[in-house]
């Protein structure tokens, strides 16, 4: 519909609210062909990353793009993103990195990574637009308790990244008694300690879902009203999950779907489960509850947990759009 088409032109004509600006990307890339851009990377400003799509200079460009000095700021208005590592396994961060060159595109055009102990040398949690928080919180570790509080205070949007941050996941099974901190026994999902805005469930969360949330957060914070509307429509279900609570289990399929008369027997839940705890029997999920690690993927993926006709009905244009904005 209009919203999404507009969004497309708006994204390329960054920050421009008027609807008439159709001469976004395709034209821009023709105007600044192969030669001009290599010579004047600084003046290329807004269009710089976009013009890169020219196949002719792909090879030449690849290195310069990666090594591009920070000051250049090809996009004036990037959001700031931090990765906060609580009691997690870093698998969520690996998932972000598994966007491969897509991660470079995100860092190039849409987001600066201002904090991430695994990848950068910033020691203390800074102010940031979006905090991607992975892992749950150990109540018996003072430092962790401080960090989760600081994260909330310094981040505009707090995203619980992955099953542990959202729902506790495997740390639900912790009960202490191990060297050399046998008293470290109580772990809570971050939503039990601070207000969380967005959930990205699953163990591990998928690279594609993290990418989509990053792009939508960018629009939410840097876009105009229409872009915000799109981002809100997209993020709403993930915000609703965050508002709904911090407990997840394969049992949710029973309590929230089958018991509610909503299951259609599609099998998505069985596909989503990382540990193959779900089999389909006579068209209904059968959960091996002792295998379940409480990651929340099955319920969140189920088309009868949430389904937005507005967003899913536009799958074709949104998919094309994501493909386009993710071009290096």
């Amino acid at each position: 519909m209009g919203l999404f088409d507009k969004f497309k032109s708006l994204l390329f004509g960054k920050g421009d609210v008027s609807e008439g600006t159709q001469d976004e990307k395709p034209v821009a890339s023709k105007q600044e062909p192969v030669a001009s851009k290599q010579e004047e990377p600084v003046s290329a400003k807004h269009e710089a990353p976009v013009t890169k799509a020219e196949p002719a200079d792909m090879k030449v460009e690849q290195k310069p793009i990666i090594q591009k000095p920070k000051e250049e700021k090809p996009v004036a208005d990037k959001i700031t993103v931090g990765h906060v590592h609580m009691s997690g396994c870093t698998g969520c961060l690996v998932s972000l990195a598994d966007n491969y060159e897509g991660l470079l595109t995100i860092l190039d055009k849409y987001a600066d990574l201002v904090y991430c102990l695994t990848l950068a040398d910033v020691r203390h949690i800074p102010e940031m637009d979006v905090a991607l928080v992975e892992g749950s919180v150990c109540l018996n570790d003072e430092c962790s308790m401080e960090e989760i509080l600081e994260t909330r205070e310094r981040a505009k949007i707090v995203v619980a990244l992955g099953g542990c941050a959202c729902y506790g996941n495997t740390t639900r099974f912790c009960r202490g008694g191990q060297q050399n901190q046998p008293q470290h026994e109580a772990f809570l999902p971050i939503g039990d300690l601070i207000k969380v805005d967005v959930y990205i469930p699953a163990c591990a969360p998928t690279p594609q879902q993290i990418r989509n949330v990053c792009l939508m957060a960018y629009l939410l914070l840097k876009g105009n009203d229409e872009q915000k509307a799109l981002a809100t429509a997209y993020l709403t279900p993930l915000m609703n999950l965050a508002a709904a609570g911090t407990e997840a289990c394969g049992c949710d399929l029973m309590t929230e779907v089958i018991n509610q008369g909503l299951c259609c027997g599609c099998g998505s839940c069985a596909a989503a489960c990382t540990v193959r705890a779900i089999t389909m029997q006579y068209g209904r999920p059968q959960v091996e509850r002792d295998l379940c690690i409480k990651c929340g993927a099955c319920y969140a993926q189920c088309p009868r947990s949430f389904f937005s006709f507005d967003v899913c009905g536009q799958y074709e244009s949104i998919t094309n759009l994501i493909g386009e904005v993710m071009k290096p």
């Binding site: 998928t206 594609q208 909503l262 998505s268 596909a271 068209g283 389904f307 998919t319």
Partner: protein
């Protein structure tokens, strides 16, 4: 148009090949499209409802040959959780371009998995062709069994085809039509989750097909997405599918629209009813549609 989703074109169509048509449910569109797509590399495998251990109890399977596709022909009026294989198709099967056939709810699940891939790593980019089949309602296997064995007094192992049309549920055996019951009798066996379903003609598929609207042996086909259009046109050019205009076809789109409207209106009412607004003492039931 609203009730039928967005589409680029609609046809009366059938497979160009007798081998496919011999045991297809209707025009053999699903099997012909997948066979063509497999042969030409548009897909490298398709998730279909294969034969299961019990008669007419479908089992999702990944077909990577035309023979496997042929074995999956025909409608099984029971739940085949085709989405259960969507991730596995990209893993041990190593598929890059997946075809999947499904009822409207399953196609919705495909699109949700593409836009919100929560437990579906690498699935979004690997869906190459999603074929939707029209669906008024589905039945749990025990319900279907009851309908056939009890109401139709027919051994389910002997059934060669089942069909819903013109207000009747019919079972055919080798000797022809064996029994027919009015659909009214089957209502209580419907899958409860179907009563909140707001899609009749698989609005979100690349191509959707069903029997309603066209004469026996033909299918009604909506070509919807760019991917669906490209694949369908090529299949027609290559002779795998015979497509004709819907103009003047009886009962045509009029009947499709009527049934779609009935289904969606009825289920919309049921969803509203689930909110229990009229009963202060009753809490609302959950509504998945935000």
């Amino acid at each position: 148009m609203e009730y039928l989703g967005q589409y680029k074109a609609v046809y009366k169509a059938k497979a160009g090949c007798e081998d496919i048509l011999s045991k297809a449910q209707d025009g053999g569109i699903v099997t012909a499209m997948f066979a063509y797509a497999l042969e030409t590399g548009i897909i490298d495998g398709a998730i279909v409802a294969g034969p299961g251990e019990e008669a007419y109890k479908p089992e999702p399977m990944i077909a990577t040959t035309v023979d496997e596709l042929l074995a999956a022909r025909g409608t099984k009026y029971s739940i085949s959780p085709n989405m259960a294989l969507i991730k596995e198709a990209t893993r041990s099967y190593g598929l890059d371009k997946i075809g999947i056939v499904g009822t409207p709810c399953q196609i919705q699940a495909v699109r949700k998995a593409q836009l919100y891939p929560i437990g579906m790593r690498d699935v979004p980019d690997k869906i190459a062709l999603a074929l939707g089949i029209f669906c008024m309602e589905n039945f749990p296997y025990q319900g279907l069994y009851q309908m056939v064995e009890d109401h139709c007094a027919t051994k389910i192992d002997n059934v060669t085809k089942m069909d819903i049309g013109k207000g009747k549920f019919s079972v055919y055996t080798e000797r022809g039509v064996n029994a027919q019951i009015p659909l009214k009798v089957t209502h209580k066996y419907e899958q409860p989750g179907c009563h909140v379903c707001l899609d009749y003609v698989a609005n979100l598929a690349d191509i959707s097909t069903g029997s309603v609207g066209t004469p026996d042996g033909w299918s009604t086909v909506f070509v919807r997405s760019a991917a669906g259009e490209a694949a369908f046109n090529k299949a027609v050019d290559a002779g795998w599918i015979i497509a004709e205009s819907m103009d003047g076809v009886k009962p045509g789109l009029e009947l499709v629209t009527k049934l779609a409207t009935e289904k969606i209106t009825k289920n919309q009412k049921y969803i509203e009813h689930r909110a229990h607004a009229e009963h202060e003492a009753l809490k609302p039931l959950r509504n998945p549609y935000i």
